[in-house]
């Protein structure tokens, strides 16, 4: 079977507040060749059933630093540490040490703290002059403070920590040397944090992992420990911030849905889930894999050995699985979207992200009953050239 011509990836975010045009016809072919921002080639698996199956297929390796995998951008070495084995069985042993902190019970016990952080941020918003930028005043500070709490970063170091993280992840646009300075600075800081917890353990995930590592280096070496702490930061900060800001913008753009939520806050979890499915910020770049052997898709098309593969988050709009997928339905009952991936690499922080998103939506719509966009949703600027295409500026009034 012949494949269609390669297209540029990610697709254009057009029309701005709807499902992008490029996503709608994507599933006509089960495999879509694409050009990544670096110019390197990859293939996008488009249909939900194939995406779901391939997330659990060991012929796709997540050790993209060990194989000749296509690059996302010319200089994106930061996510590929060749010393870390990202495939089973080794990877799963390490992952299991971390995800115990993300059980339903433990995440639920953090909920009151997340409410405290949200309340503080909303107090500051209420005192500021309108319009207020939801990204800067709420969406970014909330998850970074939650992660600080989870990892046990002391209060007086929050500002320094966030400066390094923002610089490293290029949240603030900085010259390359500055990004590099922040990358080194953050790695050094995390080493110091780990050392401090070794001598004075506190009640947080870093101290818990230090204890495991000190008991048995074979379970978790010092390098692996530091890598995991950094991964939680990288994977859990900008993703959650973008999703909080972008999903609120998508919701506020539809005032009748805002009123529906305000009439019954019990639907917040379902609405959060639907906005995760209908997210207009995610790309499939986060699910990059290297193909170790030819893999046949359900229609017989072959994913060739040696290709760089992405498992499509755009499969959230597959009509074979979702009823009226192009509609934003905040009451949708069966919603097994791919926004957190699937299989063994399923987002480790999903329970935390869900809880943060629920507190954010409920908090903002309760505290500011008249909350609305201060600028038409179609005109909101987007972040350029990253993993995520969320809005960079979301001005609101109430």
């Amino acid at each position: 079977m012949s494949l269609p011509d390669a297209v540029d990836y990610p697709f254009a975010w057009e029309p701005p507040m709807e499902v992008p045009a490029g996503w709608r016809t994507l599933r006509e072919h089960s495999l879509q060749p694409v050009r990544l921002p670096s110019g390197d080639p990859a293939v996008l698996v488009t249909r939900y059933r194939d995406v779901k199956a391939l997330f659990s297929d060991h012929r796709l390796s997540r050790n993209t630093g060990r194989y000749p995998t296509s690059r996302i951008s010319p200089n994106n070495e930061i996510f590929n540490d060749p010393e870390i084995d990202n495939d089973p069985p080794r990877y799963l042993e390490e992952r299991s040490l971390v995800v115990r902190a993300f059980s339903a019970r433990r995440i639920e016990s953090l909920r009151p703290h997340v409410w405290e952080i949200a309340d503080e941020l909303m107090d500051a918003m209420a005192a500021a002059e309108q319009p207020v930028d939801l990204m800067e005043s709420f969406a970014f500070p909330l998850p970074i403070r939650v992660i600080c709490r989870l990892l046990g970063v002391p209060h007086e170091e929050h500002a320094k920590f966030r400066e390094l993280v923002d610089g490293f992840l290029s949240v603030t646009k900085l010259p390359t040397e500055e990004v590099e300075r922040c990358r080194v600075g953050l790695w050094t800081y995390l080493g110091e944090l780990i050392d401090a917890k070794r001598h004075h353990p506190t009640n947080d995930l870093t101290s818990e992992l230090v204890k495991i590592s000190d008991e048995d280096q074979k379970k978790l070496s010092d390098h692996q420990l530091q890598h995991w702490v950094q991964t939680l930061l990288i994977a859990g900060y900008v993703t959650t911030a973008s999703q909080i800001g972008t999903s609120m913008a998508v919701l506020l753009h539809r005032p009748h849905l805002v009123r529906e939520v305000q009439a019954d806050f019990g639907i917040v979890p379902t609405a959060v889930e639907e906005l995760l499915r209908y997210q207009l910020m995610g790309t499939s770049l986060g699910s990059l894999r290297y193909c170790l052997e030819d893999i046949e898709l359900s229609d017989g098309t072959v994913v060739p050995k040696g290709s760089t593969v992405m498992l499509s988050v755009e499969s959230n709009f597959d009509e074979e699985v979702f009823t009226c997928p192009m509609d934003l339905d905040i009451h949708r009952r069966e919603n097994n979207h791919m926004s957190f991936g699937s299989g063994i690499h399923y987002c480790a922080g999903a329970p935390l992200a869900r809880m943060e998103l629920q507190v954010s939506m409920e908090g903002l719509l309760r505290r500011f009953p008249g909350l609305r966009l201060a600028q038409p949703g179609e005109d909101l600027p987007r972040v350029e050239g990253g993993f995520l295409g969320g809005f960079s500026y979301v001005p609101v009034r109430w």
């Binding site: 659990s56 339903a104 995440i107 069966e334 299989g343």
Partner: protein, 69 residues
């Protein structure tokens, strides 16, 4: 009438928590965050929730078997 037998495999569980969210009467987690079945033969009114929990599991770690009562 048939009943439903619920089993779950903690060795493939990835702690997505989806089963606990969707059917908290039937699923729980141990101290390592791994799935535990609380009620292997849940009453009929929970079957719908249990089926949704099983479909939502990212690693298909939940098995449902229809059984004569």
């Amino acid at each position: 009438m048939t009943g439903l037998l619920v089993t779950a495999d903690p060795t493939t569980c990835v702690t997505s928590c989806m089963c606990v969210y969707r059917a908290p009467e039937v699923f729980d987690q141990d101290d390592d965050g791994l799935v535990v079945v609380l009620d292997a033969r849940p009453p009929a009114e929970l079957h719908d929730a249990v089926r949704r929990a099983a479909r939502g599991c990212p690693t298909q770690s939940i098995t449902l078997t229809d059984q004569p009562l």
